[in-house]
């Protein structure tokens, strides 16, 4: 059983997606428990895998018993063991938290929604687990296509915004495929480790350079890196809250994992940081991404749209950290994948709870929420503090690593951008908190307003949210352990 963990990780959600679809015709009440069981099994498998990786090092799984490089292999090491755990647990918590919203938003379509949801998680887990470059493309498209389906189920402008996402996402995936094709021409292999072994003799080749840049542009398109970000805000804003709180924390972060995997395993740090001389402009691009994302976020008067621009700024953090080319920056980028998934999940779950109760997420709908929904807004404050980067929460620690990495590399522009974005985040989130806390008093001059009764979201939505909020602090406290026992081994020794 223990040997089959990487297969269970993918097959459990895949099969449960199939069963959900069938049982949706029989009895809609069956869908939710099956989805929870499928994702629960995947979470169990990923946690066990991570423990096994910590114990014995890299786990290699040959699908169908075919040896790599001929067969497809799943490599699980410290880097993707960590990301797998985060992806599966975030997906599971979000599913439980959103049972009520899914039933409220699509009473007729719960079956198809759960099917797409679980399939999407299958795709994301597969992207992270696989060690085969072409297999990654296929799983990328599985995650993307189901994602389009989920996002398009939203209100009003959702189909149009999703259509734009579909155009950009398809171009991104095609670019990645083209890059893999170039790599296949020069190396004759699709296995990541095998390619890495063949490439050093070809480092001067123009085809390898083209392959690398084309792959990178494809991945940047998919993660909404600044000049290529235009599809993201509308697609995520108009999506149903259950879908946006799955996709917003995970998709961009998984794509950043793919970028780091390409840098660390496929092309090797020696090629990326020594042979190529592109890291300087890319870090500047990340700097611009952070600044522009923060400025756009400031101009929004709508909670969910503001959060989507915060995501764009956070993508800049991680791309910049990974491209600084030193150990501290890379540690910060990997740590931020974990932290940002949890932070984004936290604030998007809050947005989901607000939409469930208030039916709106513009700033004017937030008035007086601290009185009516104290627990939800409490979680929002913790999430906000973490995104700003206040010490006991986890967001502080990854930002600390990123900033010290920037100082080590002498990239003061990137450092200033990080600090600037923290300051902007203070303004952003305290503006929201101010509206939610003080506004009704301003209208009634503080005396003749009766306190509104508490109208908190149901317990089923509240408990996962509070777990996520608590985990922001727990992960922050245990940052040292995560870095020392996991991330340290995820980064090859060449990066100092």
């Amino acid at each position: 059983m223990n040997q089959q963990l990487p297969a269970i990780l993918i097959i459990a959600p895949l099969l449960s997606a199939l069963i959900i679809n069938i049982s949706g015709w029989v009895n809609k009440k069956l869908c939710f428990p099956i989805a929870v069981a499928g994702l629960g099994l995947a979470s169990w498998a990923s946690v066990n895998l991570l423990l096994r990786v910590l114990d014995e090092g890299v786990v290699l799984y040959r699908l169908g018993g075919w040896d790599p490089p001929m067969g497809i292999a799943y490599y699980v090491d410290h880097l993707n063991g960590l990301v797998l755990t985060v992806v599966s647990i975030v997906a599971l918590l979000n599913l439980i938290a959103n049972k009520k919203t899914i039933e409220q938003d699509f009473p007729e379509k719960t079956g198809p929604f759960y099917t797409l949801y679980v399939l999407m998680v299958t795709g994301l887990l597969g992207i992270v687990a696989t060690g085969d470059a072409f297999n990654l493309y296929v799983l990328l498209e599985i995650a993307a296509l189901t994602g389009y389906g989920l996002l398009a189920m939203g209100e009003d402008r959702a189909p149009l915004a999703t259509l734009n996402y579909l155009y950009m996402g398809t171009i991104g995936a095609c670019f990645y495929l083209l890059g893999v094709g170039y790599l296949y021409i020069v190396t004759g292999s699709l296995n990541m480790v095998d390619i890495a072994g063949i490439l050093p003799a070809l480092y001067q080749s123009k085809a390898v350079l083209a392959a690398f840049m084309i792959c990178m542009i494809g991945v940047w398109l998919k993660m909404a890196f600044f000049p290529l970000h235009a599809w993201l805000p509308n697609a995520y804003t108009y999506a149903p809250s259950a879908a946006s709180s799955l996709i917003a924390p995970l998709v961009t972060k998984v794509m950043i994992y793919v970028m780091i995997r390409l840098i660390l395993t496929v092309f090797t740090p020696e090629y990326v940081f020594s042979t190529l001389t592109v890291s300087e402009p890319i870090v500047w691009l990340a700097t611009i991404a952070i600044v522009m994302g923060s400025i756009f976020a400031l101009s929004e008067r709508n909670l969910k749209k503001m959060l989507t621009y915060v995501i764009i700024a956070e993508v800049g953090y991680m791309v910049g950290g990974a491209w600084l080319g030193n150990r501290t920056g890379m540690t910060g980028a990997i740590l931020h994948i974990v932290n940002d998934s949890l932070m984004t999940l936290c604030v998007f779950l809050v947005a989901g709870n607000i939409v469930y109760k208030v039916k709106g997420y513009a700033f004017k709908d937030l008035k007086g929420l601290f009185r009516t929904m104290p627990f939800t807004m409490g979680a929002f404050v913790i999430g906000a503090l973490s995104i700003i980067g206040v010490p006991p929460t986890c967001g502080f620690f990854s930002k600390w690593y990123l900033i010290s990495g920037a100082i080590q590399a002498g990239h003061y522009g990137f450092m200033v951008a990080l600090l600037f974005s923290s300051l902007v985040n203070v303004v952003l989130f305290f503006r929201v908190i101010e509206i939610a806390y003080y506004e009704p008093f301003a209208e009634g001059h503080g005396h003749n307003v009766l306190p509104e009764p508490m109208a908190e979201a149901p317990l089923m939505m509240l408990v996962p949210l509070l777990i996520v909020a608590a985990s922001l602090i727990v992960v922050g406290v245990y940052t040292g352990d995560i870095v020392n026992y996991i991330i340290q081994f995820a980064i090859p020794k060449e990066i100092v």
């Binding site: 189909p159 398809t170 495929l177 094709g181």
Partner: protein
């Protein structure tokens, strides 16, 4: 000048796929009609499929099926050793079977979204839709 022509002629399959890809990209960026954009997207994807298919081809090679590979003749003598130059490379072709499935699925999702957009705005011209959004 003859140099350039010979360079282009020697690698004409790459030039063709790049031209096709750029036609697709142009349609996606410049066209106003959403269906035309989907057509451009399809051309773009097909160009990459053609690229993959063309890299498997070899001059004078045949389909990769080994005759008598499992019969006694194959084992009897080392007389006919299999030369990889005699057969086209099947791997890129097999990969493209998967990519074609992805293409079709993407196209299906795109058309489904187009129907929903049309129901909402009663037009598929991008500028008219944007004008409607701005009016509100």
């Amino acid at each position: 000048m003859p140099d350039i022509i010979s360079i282009i002629a020697a690698k004409y399959n790459y030039w063709m796929f790049i031209i096709l890809m750029m036609i697709g990209l142009y349609a996606m960026i410049a066209k106003n009609n959403l269906v035309k954009k989907v057509v451009g997207m399809s051309i773009f994807q097909t160009a990459i499929i053609l690229f993959y298919v063309s890299i498997g081809a070899k001059k004078g090679a045949t389909i990769p099926i080994l005759e008598h590979a499992h019969s006694e003749h194959a084992n009897a003598a080392g007389s006919h050793i299999i030369q990889s130059a005699d057969y086209v490379n099947p791997l890129p072709h097999v990969l493209m079977l998967t990519a074609i499935v992805v293409c079709v699925a993407t196209l299906g999702v795109a058309f489904a979204l187009l129907i929903r957009v049309y129901k909402r705005y009663h037009t598929l011209e991008e500028d008219e839709i944007l004008a409607q959004i701005r009016e509100k």
